[in-house]
Amino acid sequence: MSSLAALQSRMAEGLWRGGDEADLAAIAPGPIPAHAAWGVHRNTIVSGLTNALRLTYPTVDWLVGADFFDQTALAYIRSHPPMRAQLADYGERFPKFLCGYAPAGELTYLADVARFDLAVDEVAALSVGGSKVCVDLDAGVILQLEGALRVLRTRYQVDRLRDAREDDGQSLEDLDMSPRPYAYALWRGAAGTLARVLPAGAAAFLEAVLAGACAQDGLNALLRESGEPGLAELQSDLFLAPFARLQITQTQETAP
């Protein structure tokens, strides 16, 4: 390794880990003490990464407050080095990190909130009007789904937690925070990410067909999840959903 490469490796590691300044001997004396100069770079790096996390996880930030978020972000940064040039790509393991982050142990909903924030952010980054996912339902009947559609399963009403930011938390008062299964469809609208609660059976159908399964396998997944009552979900929560469109293809009949 060249001497410059070695210097840069040591500097980078020192700045990321936040420990003692590396290679102080390499720094020429001047009016600005080396530790102060070092601190400018360290602060820029930590604040840049923290802001990137804050932008991706706005509901988490709002729920825990700025100080706790900063502390949590710092713990994440120290254990998850940034490895890509784009800040927008940083932090995809933050939801999993929150699951094991002891200071947030009592906030059992927080990881699910983070997963929802991340899904919203990822869908919003996609182009409007991308290619559709087409599912053959029957001869001549195709179900077209938005290409950016995804299903997210949680144990808390994360959509209402996110929406509560808009009314400054007033709607939290009557929010049921007991854990139970929830499912959401998320897709790209003209102005950003749209989300809709899904019944479990409809979620199972969508998960299957979005993974490439045929309609029959999707139907089997729905029945395993919800039984026959789940069949009604197909019409109300899938075929008539804003992210779906039924296309009837015309068949040509040959004249005798």
Partner: protein
């Protein structure tokens, strides 16, 4: 003209369909102002963005829409041209894809590094880290700039960064280093006047003398753009003042004076107002740009008088 310069003089043919950046004041376009610009269509002459913020498909679509209405410059922060661990080729490809779509009038990055390897893993830090100005570092930067210009098929402008420390092993001044880089690669220079001021003051040197050295070491025709921004001043325990290039305030009087001197020597150039933190309402940036335009207009008048 050196061989390197000749190589990239023709590379502008690649960007024949790009809208050139005029020698007028421009504004750094940031996310909080997207809606205002989209809806009110200000008379700003050109905009500059950090391409790293526009590489996701939806963001690229948004930028393309702006680029249809305004000349656009891409000011990258992630190429890490000073890294001795090599360029991030995937990132370079993403920049090239965006550049091909947007057809910017100018593309630039910094004389700095942000990526290294720690053990077997890459580490990419969101900062513009300083280089020792040595022959080894010059060789690294020349190689990286050459590769980047070849991949992008165009000349890059390289910006002088703000610095808070110097390395004992530096054998060249920053200005001489940039001049050598221009000579070796045919790249251009983005002269950040606020960074010249911040760096000189942090070193305890005269900013006017620092500017004069830049203008002496770097061929005038290679300086393709100027940047102006605000900075913060923090008192230190030892009585010194630390100036931090935070792009979070109006351009200070001393930096305006330096800019006027630079333009008097260079003639009119595109001048960009940068504001990245504590971002104010868009009219504030327009006000700063108007002041920059005033300097440019006086420069043009003075040039005409001396013809």
């Amino acid at each position: 003209m050196s061989t390197a310069s000749a190589r990239y003089a023709s590379a502008t043919a690649h960007a024949a369909s790009a809208r050139p950046i005029p020698a007028r004041a421009g504004i750094g376009l940031r996310l909080p102002h997207h809606r205002a610009v989209r809806e009110s269509g200000p008379s700003t002459d050109w905009f500059e963005v950090h391409p790293e913020n526009y590489m996701a498909p939806a963001r690229a679509d948004e930028l393309a829409a702006f680029a249809e209405r305004y000349p656009m410059s891409l000011h990258a922060v992630g190429l890490s041209l000073g890294s001795a661990h090599g360029l991030d080729l995937e990132h370079l490809d993403r920049l090239a894809d965006l550049e091909r779509r947007i057809q910017p009038g100018l593309v630039s990055d910094h004389l700095s590094w942000s990526a290294a390897r720690v053990g077997d893993s890459p580490l990419c830090l969101p900062d513009l880290l300083p280089l020792p100005y040595t022959e080894e570092a010059l060789s690294v930067v020349v190689d990286n700039v050459d590769r980047a210009q070849t991949r992008l098929g165009r000349q890059l402008l390289i910006e002088n960064p703000s610095t808070y420390l110097r390395f004992s092993q530096s054998a060249l001044s920053e200005a001489a280093f940039l001049g050598a880089l221009v000579s070796a690669t045919g790249c251009g220079v983005l002269l950040d006047v606020n960074n010249i001021y911040v760096s000189a003051m942090n070193r305890g040197e005269d900013p006017a003398a620092a500017l004069a050295e830049f203008l002496a070491e770097i061929p005038a025709q290679s300086i393709g753009e100027l940047h102006l921004a605000g900075h913060a001043v923090r008192p230190l325990e030892n009585g010194a003042e630390l100036r931090i290039d935070d792009h979070g305030s109006r351009v200070c009087a001393e930096v305006w004076t330096l800019c006027e001197r630079a333009l008097a020597r260079l003639g009119p150039r595109p001048v960009l107002i940068e504001w990245d933190t504590a971002i104010p309402a868009f009219p504030v940036l327009e006000d700063e740009a108007a002041r920059a335009q005033g300097l440019l207009d006086r420069t043009a008048v003075n040039e005409a008088r001396h013809v």
